[in-house]
């Protein structure tokens, strides 16, 4: 019996037929309604064809009927884990086009919110991808600590996830009187949590075996496929918009753009962990120095952008988010295009997943940190 088995395993002649399997649209590791059509040979992935559009909401078409102050409220619903960054992108575009200078206080508040939301997003990514790889404990740890950030958001904006806080000209209301003390307490607490996360997963040998060397994306490929954000930076592609095209209070803070070298799943993992520490540093530099002043400048009742084309880029938790607006001088935009990071990132998966097993594809997808409404828009 053992002889026969050995012959089957070592015989090159025996091959399985290629066959197609749908991964999703309802699959826990796709984090939403994404369908990947896999071409498999046994367990080995030969091709991944993403099928998207299950929750396509037509935001680009809708915005053509809205006025500029109304658009930021819709952008919450794209990448809901980076809702404030999405709001900010549209607000910055309108402010830059009209050459409105917002008060320093607004810049500080926006940057602190950006970084808090990046932390919340990375935390959810951290715990959910732990779950994808079979470590359920991580999920509870992550959600427990993320609660602190959401409470801070709730106190100031009344919302926990889709903040809807930035408006053209400033922010909707001033920060809550408790904001600074709570953020400082949170930073202190969170600094003790990150080593705990590392102990739980990063140093875990099972986890390392599942991610190290899996799904390598080279720097050249990252640029060619337009893979931005922590995923691109893990491959060594220096693409941090906060560093290269600073906006809000980013020119005022000192921070390091973390760059990886390997571009494998473990590097992507480590890079986001490092980014969490860096985010804490950024908040720490700003939180005590929020200048006094107005939290918004008065904008005109009807906002009309001068005729022309505008492009505004910001760094969300997933990568470069861009807004491209064609204005014909009316109160509604002629055309709005959202360049979402997830859309470009998703396409690179086919390139790097070839030859890996299905379980490795899950590890790759987990470390790509996809949010489906961000892809579908």
């Amino acid at each position: 019996m053992a002889e026969i088995l050995e012959r089957i395993v070592t015989d090159d002649e025996i091959k399985t037929d290629e066959y197609l399997v749908n991964m999703g649209p309802q699959h826990p590791s796709t984090h939403g309604v994404l369908r990947l059509l896999l071409k498999l040979e046994g367990e080995i992935v030969h091709n991944v064809e993403p099928h998207v559009g299950y929750i396509h909401s037509g935001i680009e078409k809708m915005t053509e009927a809205l006025s500029y102050p109304q658009i930021p409220h819709l952008t919450d619903r794209m990448d809901y884990l980076s809702s404030h960054m999405n709001n900010e992108a549209v607000c910055l575009l309108v402010e830059n086009a009209l050459q409105v200078e917002v008060p320093d206080r607004v810049k500080y508040i926006r940057t602190i919110f950006d970084e808090l939301q990046r932390l919340a997003s990375h935390q959810l990514w951290w715990c959910a991808s732990g779950m994808d790889l079979g470590a359920l404990t991580a999920f509870f740890y992550g959600l427990r600590d993320r609660e602190d950030i959401l409470d801070i958001f709730e106190e100031t904006c009344g919302a926990r996830l889709t903040l809807n806080y930035s408006v053209p000209g400033g922010v909707m209301f001033d920060i809550h009187p408790n904001f600074q003390t709570k953020v400082k307490a949170f930073i202190k607490k969170f600094r003790t949590k990150i080593p705990e996360y590392d102990k739980l997963l990063t140093g875990n040998i099972i986890f390392q075996n599942r991610t190290k060397g899996v799904g390598v994306l080279t720097k050249e490929d990252a640029i060619a496929f337009g893979v931005t954000g922590p995923t691109g930076r893990a491959s060594g592609f220096s693409c941090d918009v906060r560093k290269h095209h600073p906006y809000s209070a980013y020119p005022l803070v000192k921070f390091e753009e973390k760059l990886g070298t390997d571009g494998d799943s473990f590097m992507r993992w480590q890079l986001r962990m490092d980014e969490m520490r860096e985010s804490l540093n950024i908040i720490e530099q700003l939180i005590d120095n929020i200048p006094e002043g107005d939290y918004a400048v008065k904008m005109k009742g009807v906002v009309k952008l001068p005729e022309g084309e505008y492009y505004q880029r910001v760094e969300t938790a997933r990568g470069e988010f861009g807004v491209y607006v064609v204005s014909d001088g009316k109160k509604n935009p002629y055309r709005v295009k959202f360049r979402s990071p997830g859309f470009s990132n998703l396409f690179a998966i086919n390139h790097i997943a070839k030859g890996w097993k299905i379980a490795d594809l899950v590890a790759i997808m987990a470390t790509f940190d996809l949010v489906i409404p961000d892809i579908d828009r």
Binding site: V52, H56, A224, Y310, Y311, E320, G322, R339, F343
Partner: protein, 151 residues
């Protein structure tokens, strides 16, 4: 390269194209039949080196459809907006740049899906969001017969 230098270089190298300074970035409008050769040029030219296709979008205008490419050079840090107009609105077609920047493949699928621009030599042109017999919703003359709301 600064914006002025970039405009100067492009004007002298491509006299047939229209180069101007946009509201933020230099813009160049290329004829649709020369687009592919032009794109290959600016990608391979070591002085320009546009290796990162940031964004590709389609816009519907009254007499033609337009494809807009936002390009950046990761080594030289300059930014360029390239535009190409289709010949007409009835049978809009333009050359694909997916062989130059692989990311374009997915972006072009989206533009084909929502605006109906056909991309020649595209490796796998398909509708990614909508059904095969759906209209092209981002066109200005698109009418939604099912979900239309009358005031």
């Amino acid at each position: 390269m600064t914006n002025e230098q970039l405009i100067e270089k492009l004007t002298s190298a491509y006299p047939a194209a229209v180069v101007k300074m946009g509201s933020q970035y230099p813009e160049i409008t290329v004829s649709f039949d020369k687009l592919h050769a032009f794109m290959l040029d600016i990608k391979t030219d070591s002085q320009l080196d546009f290796d990162f296709l940031v964004c590709e979008s389609g816009v519907d205008y009254p007499v033609f459809l337009q494809v807009v490419y936002h390009l950046e050079s990761t080594s030289l840090k300059h930014f360029l907006v390239v535009k190409a107009n289709t010949e007409n609105r009835e049978t809009p077609a333009i050359d694909s740049v997916a062989d130059i920047w692989p990311t374009a493949e997915f972006h072009e699928n989206e533009i084909y899906d929502l605006l109906g621009i056909k991309f020649n030599n595209h490796p796998h042109l398909r509708r990614i969001f909508l059904d095969e017999n759906w209209g092209f919703p981002l066109r200005k003359d698109y009418k939604d017969d099912i979900h239309v709301v009358e005031r």
